[in-house]
Amino acid sequence: MAVQWNKDADAALAEAKAAKRPLLVDFSAAPA
């Protein structure tokens, strides 16, 4: 199952808060 990555930090934080779920943040410099 493909992961649906969010790319907007503020939106992701708001979504996590609303859903009362943890948020995983992946910092990468890998070539696309």
Binding site: Q4, A12, L23, L24, F27, S28, A29
Partner: protein
């Protein structure tokens, strides 16, 4: 809930979350508070174990003792050979102690860390609870 922060697309996120190296993975709780930081590459199972440790830490820091204990137990059972396992044994004991206030629970932890986990720093930390 996943957020991707690529250095070329969102360099400001690196500063915002104090990420100075890649790969870095954070687990934040629902209030946006960092509860786990994984810096550098890890093999698949070690990485998964660290992620699950992070989720256990979220439960622990929210004082959900039973949930935390269950999650730490899962780390030990799913990844017994990982570097995360002795840490999970330690915090599983602490979670149970927090839930019960029974100090004898802590006394069992050094015994659980004998054997393959004896050389871990967690065995050292738990040694103070030996009888």
């Amino acid at each position: 809930m996943p957020l991707e922060a690529h250095i070329k697309e969102h360099p400001a996120y690196f500063h915002r979350f104090d990420a100075l190296w890649t790969p870095t993975v954070l687990i934040l709780d629902s209030n946006g508070v960092e509860r786990q930081r994984i810096e550098g590459y890890l093999p698949k199972d070690e990485f998964r174990a660290q992620l699950e440790l992070g989720l256990a830490r979220v439960a622990f820091m929210h004082k959900r003792w039973a949930d935390a204990e269950q999650r730490y137990t899962q780390v030990v059972e799913r990844y017994p050979d990982s570097k995360a396992a002795p840490e999970a044994v330690y915090w599983r004991g602490v979670s149970r102690y927090k839930a019960t206030n029974d100090h004898t629970v802590l006394g069992q932890v050094p015994e659980q860390l004998k054997g393959e986990y004896a050389d871990s720093v967690w065995a050292l930390k738990a040694s103070v609870w030996s009888h």
